[in-house]
């Protein structure tokens, strides 16, 4: 396989200015994997700062309610700052320090990655600027304020579709300009090599823990893994450790208002292969190669493209991809809150929505692990507004 590729997907499609920085980053990342001190520091922070391992929780009442397979939740919502994004942000912040960068930048959709990067910057003592689309700043206002409290500057992106993809464009422009002093903490398994592999490796702790935990709880591997897919980092983080096992894996994209309406972010259901923001992968685009607008009730899934390892795994038949609509995700958001006392992030609610469809079709001896990628505090205001309730 060509370096930086997953089959025919991936690569490094960036302006020349960034090529040396990506090579430097690749080298530092490969070294860090073998660097004992680096790994020791990372593991120490995972344990004492992030609060790992996060628990694998048997959702008894949800399981009973659905009346089928047993549902376990991998509780990334319990990680520090409230989502899996911190696993990657801390790893990259440590790397940035190692290669001598003084400033971190990040893009964010839901605000969780922005909060995680701002947290990493505060922890290590680096400057931090976060790019965020105007529309996302509105629907994730709580996280905007959190980032500011953490000492980061939130830079509003009001061009294009004013969501995640435009924030990534702006972050890439900033990085191109300030590459000598700045590290770009990309928030998902996307972009130019080495980001897709590197972010996956930092997130793979999710699957490693889940495997041990399910073996302890059930003395066997699960039958299904389910995760939502924006760029695809929480899904890769859960799936990666299980790729050698014969397990069904399901990635859930944002179906928005339905595929027929065109207002969605289901790249596999509605897209085709393209080259976007640094890599070759699936993309929602028109016949002329221009990128289409997307819609999802969840800012973190509202994105026109998907990390390049996902189409690779799909082609291999290792992972299946489906979608949940806004309405299904909102119903799952409320269902999990009421049956388990856990308010999920709207992103994660897409994975829960798939479990709601899947579990009743399976017998009671089957096991499903759902990646609960984040908690829903950030979405409470937005959901209230959708329901017409003013807080």
């Amino acid at each position: 396989m060509k370096k930086g590729y997953f089959g025919k997907y991936g690569g490094r499609f960036v302006p020349e200015t960034l090529m040396p920085a990506l090579m430097e980053l690749e080298k530092a990342y490969l070294e860090s994997k073998k660097d004992r001190d680096f790994q020791k520091e990372l593991i120490h922070l995972q344990k004492t700062y992030i609060g790992r391992p996060t628990s694998l929780y048997f959702a008894k009442r949800l399981t009973e309610h659905l009346g089928g397979a047993k549902i376990y939740l991998k509780r990334e919502d319990l990680a520090h700052t409230g989502a899996h994004k911190i696993n990657n942000a801390i790893g990259q912040a440590l790397l940035a320090k190692k290669i001598g960068k003084k400033r971190l930048i990040a893009e964010t959709g839901a605000g969780q990655h922005g909060v995680a990067t701002a947290t990493g910057a505060a922890l290590i003592g680096l400057d931090c600027d976060v790019y965020m689309g105007t529309d996302d700043m509105k629907r994730q206002a709580l996280n905007v304020f959190r980032m500011r409290l953490l000492g980061a500057r939130v830079i509003e992106v009001s061009i294009g579709s004013r969501t995640l993809k435009d924030a990534i464009n702006e972050a890439l422009r900033d990085w191109t300009t300030n590459v000598n002093t700045t590290h770009y903490v990309l928030g998902t398994v996307f972009g130019p090599h080495p980001f897709p592999s590197m972010v996956r490796d930092f997130q793979s702790v999710i699957g490693k823990e889940a495997k041990k935990q399910i073996m302890q709880a059930e003395k066997r591997l699960p039958d299904y893994l389910v995760a939502c897919v924006g760029g695809g980092s929480n899904a890769m983080g859960l799936f990666h450790e299980f790729l050698g096992d014969n397990i069904k894996m399901i990635g859930v994209e944002a179906g928005g208002k339905g595929i027929d309406t065109g207002e969605h972010a289901a790249r596999f259901a509605g897209g085709s292969v393209g080259v976007f923001q640094g890599c070759k992968t699936y993309l929602l685009q028109d016949d002329n190669g221009n990128v289409l607008g997307t819609h999802s009730v969840s800012a973190g899934l509202d994105y026109a493209s998907i990390g390049p390892e996902h189409p690779f795994l799909r082609d291999l038949g290792k992972v299946q991809y489906t979608y949940a609509t806004d309405d299904e995700a909102l119903a799952a958001f409320e269902l999990l809150s009421k049956t388990e006392g856990i308010i999920p992030a709207l992103e994660s609610a897409h994975a829960v929505a798939e479990a709601v469809k899947l579990a009743p079709k399976l017998s009671g001896d089957k096991l499903i692990i759902v990646n609960l990628s984040g908690r829903g505090d950030k979405d409470v205001q937005h959901v209230a507004a959708i329901k017409g309730i003013s807080l």
């Binding site: 690569g11 490094r12 499609f13 960036v14 302006p15 020349e16 200015t17 960034l18 090529m19 040396p20 920085a21 061009i159 294009g160 993809k165 435009d166 464009n169 890439l172 422009r173 191109t176 300009t177 300030n178 590459v179 000598n180 393209g274 080259v275 976007f276 923001q277 640094g278 070759k280 993309l283 685009q285 016949d287 002329n288 190669g289 221009n290 990128v291």
Partner: protein, 258 residues
């Protein structure tokens, strides 16, 4: 020999430098772009860059981003730009280079793109988000068709990168004046000259400089240390904000590049 290569060769023998203006195709309309190309040629442009509008131009600053938005609103596509070039070829022989992002080319199909571009009369192509490392097929196909592949170098480029880019480039090498995006502020502090001298130690291909050049003074300074001067955002802004002064502005720039 490609017409771009010939242009640089002729200029060199006359001890002159290339003046290379950039405009966005379809901004504000396809008809206006046709007129503008003829105006630029009449004012003495040696080569003209035509931008192909794209939804996500990540190497461009606000001026060219907005121009792309206007052109997209006009319904301009890569296919449309090729038709525009074909039409222009009945009126002018000035070398035309397309500056496009990679995805429109990928979606169009590389092979088909090279063929149709050549048939339309395009002389070269610049793709800012396609480094030579990812351009193996395109380089091969374009070479066969005698379409120049122009790659970019930047202040961050190491010796290895310079070698790679120089080998892959035909027509000229595009030196990006700064770490940054189009339309940023240029800094004339001697570092550009140093970088160009570094490049010249490795290759004798022509080196044109772009990004951030917005005044006749800057154009003059850059033409003194390179083989060509590329001016984009400043011209795009003029077309949008003060079109009545465009011709004077272009003539001043032309005069400065020598």
């Amino acid at each position: 020999m490609n017409r771009i290569e010939r242009t640089f060769k002729e200029l060199k023998s006359l001890n002159k430098k290339a003046f290379i203006p950039y405009i966005m195709a379809g901004d504000p309309s396809v008809e206006r772009t046709k007129e503008l190309v003829l105006v630029l040629e009449e004012c003495g442009a040696d080569i003209i860059e035509l931008g192909v509008p794209f939804t996500d131009p990540l190497a461009d600053g606000p001026t060219i981003q907005r121009a792309a938005e206007r052109a997209l609103k006009e319904g301009v596509t890569l296919k449309g730009v090729l038709a525009l070039v074909k039409d222009l070829r009945t009126k002018t022989r000035v070398p035309l280079v397309l500056m496009t992002y990679y995805n429109p080319v990928f979606k169009y199909g590389e092979e088909r793109f090279v063929k149709d571009a050549k048939d339309a009369g395009v002389e070269g192509v610049i793709i800012p988000d396609l480094p030579p490392d990812e351009a193996g097929e395109l380089i091969k196909t374009a070479k066969k068709a005698d379409l120049a592949t122009i790659f970019l170098l930047a202040p961050t480029s190491t010796e290895d990168r310079i070698k790679k880019v120089a080998t892959a480039s035909r027509g000229f090498i595009y030196y990006v004046s700064m770490t940054g995006i189009t339309g940023s502020q240029i800094l004339l502090d001697g570092s550009i000259e140093k970088s160009i001298n570094n490049i010249r130690r490795i290759t004798d291909k022509p080196v044109a400089v772009g990004f951030g050049i917005s005044t006749a003074e800057q154009a003059r300074a850059i033409s003194g240390i390179s083989d060509g001067v590329i001016i984009g955002s400043a011209i795009v802004r003029k077309i949008q904000e003060a079109p009545e002064g465009l011709k004077d502005f272009i003539l001043k720039l032309r005069e400065a590049v020598r």
